[in-house]
Amino acid sequence: MGKRNREKTESGMINNENEISKSLKESLLRIEEAFKDCPDLIKRKVFLNNSTEGCILYLKGIVNIDLVQRDFINPILSLKEENLTDITILGSVSASNVDCYYDFSSIITDILSGFAVFLIDGRPFAVVCKLDKYEIRSIQEPETEKNVRGPHEGFRETIESNMATLRRKIKNNNLKFKLIKVGTTMNQTVSIAYIEDIADMNLLEELNNKIEGINYDGLIPIGYIEQFITDFKLSPFPQYLATERPDKAVAGLLEGRFVIMQEGTPVVLIAPVSFFSFFQALDDYSTNWMAGSLIRTIRLLGAMLAIFLPALYIAITSFHYFMVPLDLLVPLAESRAKVPFSPIVEALILEVTLEMLREASIRLPTYIGISIGVVGGLVIGQAAVAAGIVSDLFIIIVAVTAIASFIIPSYDMGLAIRFIRFIFILSSAVFGIVGVVVSTIMLIAHLVVLESLGQPYFQPVVPLRIKDLKDVMVRVPLELLRKRPDQGNPNNDRRGR
């Protein structure tokens, strides 16, 4: 705080316009001008020692007025005339978060950020005190990222409490937070958390520059930041891992990654991440390593099924009939025989319906959501087959695909895979297996080219890092995971002493 204050003070010296006038009246006029039509601004005039006029300004609802009264105003009011210099005031106020400004613009931003500001007639400075009181919700487990054996807490909307959560978990002075202001209108705080002796400072610099370079009026969810700072905007893949779980953020920090937190959203971003980070869940680490490996393999398999299965079905049924096994030949043909559409149309009908169903069920409250499930199950499962619009084998494929894409822990990655699936379907409908192969090559080429914060996205596989492969398909016992992965470019890669 002190450092920031000094900087502000110096800049205030240079610019006279920005200085606080000695006359309280003048200052109040300027503030009133700035806060025109802001009924939530409270101005309360007081007299110090019955002579000197002072004014306390704050915004209603975000300042804890009781504490301000007790710890900020009362001590000042009891000061003698000659003690009203900046140093003495700062020394005698009992509230902890007190500061002293000489420039005008800081007052405005501070009032907006929940400070109580005290102006004294005849003094060219303002005393500010942060005793804010936001209404925040209680700690809950994130709905979209449940787990079994980890902690059941999630981040919340205020950045302070989120920073405190991290601090409570990592009791180490090397955990640093770098604060950045973003949003030309909204004036939001963004904080980059990192562990100083692990993280790569060059990456921090790069990330910092990227976030500071954002020129936009307001960043509502953290997805805005994500989109502004991604290097590959034409990629369907998420290049930053979004999570609401503090434990995931801590795990990231320990691997030398950065956690980007933003005021007003419980979601934080972890960067740099690899493709495979999106398939890891904390439960893989908290349970037995064999079971964890199995589950993780199934997740990757699920992702592959979700991408390839419908495309292969289309390629085989509309181009390469001879690839169907002899025993499946007739049953498949029988199920297709009553369908009037070509496989691609059939596939699009069903896939689009499924996506609509899924989209509908996100927005609807749970009790209506159940009826959506019934409608979907009946319409798709029974009626569509009976009416001869789709074949029952394809229903199974779509169902398997849907289940496979549900098991991906990250919502963003799930979205990416759903999107890619359509590309695969379309190209296989035109070129058959060649379409599937070319799309696969394109997919791999894209993953290989892609970078997350300048680090290769497909990391432990290409470029090959054999020691990091221990944590991709399988998750070896923790004793063998003594090295941090290369992805975050960590300074010291030994975990533990």
Binding site: H320, P325, F431, M442, V462, L464
Partner: protein
């Protein structure tokens, strides 16, 4: 996107020696191996594998000479060496020759790739459309540069091992007697077959173009030789297997023995796996031609100092597709290929002569 990416592309061509290893493998294995066993067996009979070993040894020697030549000039590619060694005009002509060679090699690669797809899966699809489609990933990777290409071709190592595993699956139809008597074809046919077996090793000359981009040049020679050896072993395995499986008389009749062999395995459940095999081999073929295409594009950029890469690449893409349709048919393509292969041997020879010539004309030697 271009401005965004531009900053990151500063090092987009820089590769390590290990990536050079996969680069060389990817050029060599891919298209050549499809026809190689059949071509060699036509000359050397069932002793084709001996020719491959000899071809491998000779190509390794050529590779050593090429690497020595490049080492003499430190950070220069053959394009720069040419103008230093032979003067501006002759050097310029030689540069254009290299560009034309690598471009034509890529074009023929594209043509053969399209032919294989047309023969094996899509008979009726218009070839031009098909070529446009199958080149999309190639152009994408070329745009992102040598590093991306080399990272991608790592995937091929998986494909090669899958092919080897597949060959092991059909071991029960393998007859050792088809390979015997060793040396029975006579010395003359075996030595005659060395030249066509060298065609399979073509691709090492591309090292001369991309050499300045290698970051750890002290290991480059080691890895390049290892790559050549890897290719030789792979060729050897495939040739021995196809000969031992089909016998020389039948092998002579086959156009693409490696594909035919995939049609001869009855897999459990799916029965036929030939389509999957072909599908798996597509990336290998595409990588082979991609490396040629990249080399010619890179050389054009280097020689003509091109600023608007995007536009040039797009024109390059269209030209490549259209030019690849020039050969009239499969037989015509093969004729072109024969000429090209000889040209490739010529380029190798010319690189070796350049090494000798660099002792005569010492201008620019060893200067960074």
């Amino acid at each position: 996107m271009i401005e965004e990416v531009g900053r990151m592309l500063d090092h987009k061509h820089q590769i390590t020696s290990r990536q050079l290893f996969v680069f060389i493998i990817a050029v060599q294995i891919g298209i050549g191996i499809l026809t190689l066993p059949s071509i060699l067996v036509q000359i050397a009979g069932h002793d084709a594998w001996i020719s491959i070993i000899m071809g491998g040894i000779i190509s390794s020697f050529i590779l050593v000479i090429i690497m020595l030549l490049l080492k003499r000039y430190k950070d220069k590619s053959i394009l720069e060496i040419n103008s230093v060694l032979y003067g501006k005009h002759i050097g310029g002509i030689l540069n254009i020759l290299i560009i034309v060679y690598s471009f034509v090699a890529a074009i023929l690669g594209i043509r053969i790739f399209t032919n294989v797809i047309k023969v094996s899966t899509l008979k009726l699809t218009p070839p031009t459309v098909l070529t446009f489609f199958i080149l999309i990933p190639t152009i994408y990777l070329i745009w992102y540069g040598l590093k991306a290409i080399c990272r991608f071709v790592n995937i091929l190592l998986v494909i090669y091992s899958l092919v080897i595993i597949f060959l092991l699956l059909i071991y029960k139809d393998f007859r050792f007697t088809f390979l015997m008597p060793v040396g029975g074809s006579g010395i003359k046919p075996i030595t005659m077959a060395i030249i066509p077996s060298l065609f399979g090793f073509l691709g090492i000359e591309l090292v001369a173009i991309i050499y300045p981009n290698i970051t750890d040049k002290e290991n480059a020679m080691k890895y390049a030789l290892a790559a050549n050896l890897f290719t030789m072993v792979f060729f050897l395995i495939v040739t021995i297997f196809t000969t031992g499986f089909y016998g020389e008389v039948m092998l002579k009749q086959l156009e693409y023995p490696l594909f035919s062999i995939s049609r001869s395995y009855k897999a459990p459940i799916v029965e036929r796996i030939d389509l999957f095999f072909v599908a798996f081999w597509f990336p290998a073929m595409a990588s082979s031609l991609r490396n040629y295409l990249f080399s010619s594009f890179y050389s054009i950029n280097e020689v003509f100092n091109i600023k608007k890469r995007g536009k040039v690449l797009f024109i390059f893409y269209i030209v490549a597709v259209l030019v690849s349709r020039i050969p009239k048919d499969q037989a015509h393509t093969n004729q072109f290929l024969e000429i090209l292969n000889l040209l490739g041997i010529g380029i190798m020879g010319y690189l070796c002569i350049s090494y000798l010539f660099s002792f005569v004309n010492k201008r620019g030697v060893g200067i960074k």
